[in-house]
């Protein structure tokens, strides 16, 4: 099977979620990549180095600069004459584009796969990860989004792909990019961090969230996450949210501070290798999934912990 992987990048480097997607694609067959954007020759060169990659299709055009789904989808559809499957990382950008491609090809997309069981069979989570479904497709072309945390990342070196330009499909004129506000962070990216420290509603305020969670995260070299309650209360920005409707993480260590452990939150972190919970309520559901629990007041325990690390 010939697969195409849509490469997510920031016009500088290939994002980690793409590397996991390459691993998933390699289980299906030959891996080709698509790098679309404006001024992407550097990214294409880097993509060609990814282990196991064959052809790298490059579409360099202003219409692709902001990855607008209305413009990117027709480009991919055009390449699907030659490929049997297209895989996207299940990031906000991947999720935005993939279903348009599926509808154009008249196939059912398979969202957020956890494993490849066969050429037409995959597992995926449903009901906020409370059940895992094994699904078999009868479609001729496959459109798949891949959960990054479920697959190892392909090596970024050792590959010798050939770079080939693709004719741009042009701007469809349906949508335009106005602007973006990207939260600046020196810390590792939440979805690929080895350690994540997350805060919940119990932190009480934005000031206390930063005063307690940030130093602990910095000591552990961790990314900072948050529960929906903490985000809704304005303690942390939206893109910190871990859960069914936020980001899915699976770090080596996940430290949940003042988070009760609602099922929607657990959906985003219960595949972490080790879960540490600090909570004053010893009956909080988070302790049912935590490997290491510490019961007590986070306002004394967290500074003490930060101090002793």
């Amino acid at each position: 099977m010939k697969t195409l992987v849509w490469v997510e990048h920031d016009h500088q480097s290939v994002k980690d979620a793409t590397l996991s997607t390459v691993t998933a694609a390699a289980k299906l067959g030959e891996v080709h990549l698509l790098v679309a954007g404006k001024g992407v020759s550097g990214v294409a060169e880097a993509a060609a180095q990814i282990a196991g990659v064959g052809k790298v299709h490059v579409a360099d055009d202003a219409a692709y600069e902001h990855f607008l789904a209305e413009n990117i989808a027709p480009l991919i559809v055009q390449l699907m004459g030659d490929h049997d499957a297209v895989l996207f990382p299940a990031t906000t950008t991947g999720k935005n584009v993939a279903p348009r491609v599926a509808a154009a090809l008249d196939v059912m997309q398979i969202s957020d796969i956890l494993s490849v069981e066969g050429a037409d069979t995959f597992t995926r989570p449903i009901y906020a990860g409370n059940a895992i479904a094994t699904v078999q497709t009868s479609d001729k072309k496959l459109v798949i989004t891949v959960r990054g945390t479920a697959f190892d990342k392909a090596a970024t070196t050792g590959g010798s792909g050939t770079v080939e330009a693709v004719a741009a499909a042009g701007d469809k004129g349906l949508s335009t990019f106005v602007g973006a506000e990207i939260a600046a962070s020196e810390r590792p990216e939440l979805t690929s961090a080895k350690v994540v420290v997350s805060g919940g509603r119990a932190l009480g305020s934005q000031e206390q969230f930063h005063a307690l969670i940030d130093p602990l995260a910095d000591k552990l070299g961790a990314a900072v996450g948050a529960s929906r309650a903490a985000v809704d209360a304005g303690y942390a920005p939206n893109d910190y949210q871990v859960g069914q409707t936020g980001k899915i993480v699976a770090p080596q260590v996940y430290v949940a501070v003042g988070i009760s452990g609602a099922i929607q939150h657990l959906a985003g972190m219960k595949d972490s290798k080790t879960i540490v919970a600090i909570n004053k309520d010893e009956d909080a559901p988070i302790f049912q999934v935590a490997d290491i629990g510490l019961v007590g007041d986070l306002f004394t325990l967290v500074p003490e912990l930060t101090g002793k690390l």
Binding site: A103, A104, V135, G221, N238
Partner: protein
Amino acid sequence: MKVLVPVKRVLDYNVKPRVKADGTGVDLANVKMSMNPFDEIAIEEAVRLKEKGAATEIVVVTIGVAKAETDVLLTARAMGADRGILIQTDEEVEPLAVAKLLAKVAQEEQPGLIILGKQAIDDDSNQTGQMLGQLLGWAQGTFASKVEIDGERVKVTREIDGGLETVDLKLPAIVTTDLRLNEPRYATLPNIMKAKTKPVAKKTVADYGVDVTPRLKTLKVVEPAKRQAGIKVGSVDELVEKLKGMGVA
């Protein structure tokens, strides 16, 4: 401008799903069903657009069992939708087929805007809105946290990994709602009573001539692997010890 809002009846988000022992699916017998939370946000946004004078009529549509009429269409009308369409079927309909049915409804109704939830909390697919955008050839503003209608265009602020992004779309367009778009209002008792007088058109899948044969076959549904029971430590020192043991401190 007319606004179309597709809604879905799903297992209530507070209910812990139970996987059936025979592995055929999740047990939905005798459990509370409600409107998908993202769809409530979609209705709320449509109602706010109407209150601001940007929308003239709100049509709500659902595809599902007969009970969807009382479980979700009534709630939607009580929140402020003007009329409902029930496309009745006892089968599960996949996002692609839902999008095809909705495209037919859109061709009939000619809405200026379609607002959907970003995903249903049962199948967690996150596909229908985007597929509908493709089928209609319309622009899409997915994961919206802010929607501003400006004449023939709509400006949508989207929640993306790493922050926010704003796009400007040509109308008619598709918007899918994210959690922070708004806080849905409650359907009050008087409004629920009033909603019963608002019309619902009853249709079947066959009325639209759409093939809804599933493309995906569910071979089995299992519970996720259980985590090993953990331990509780008595002090910060013990926790530090454990973290050091794992090589992260």
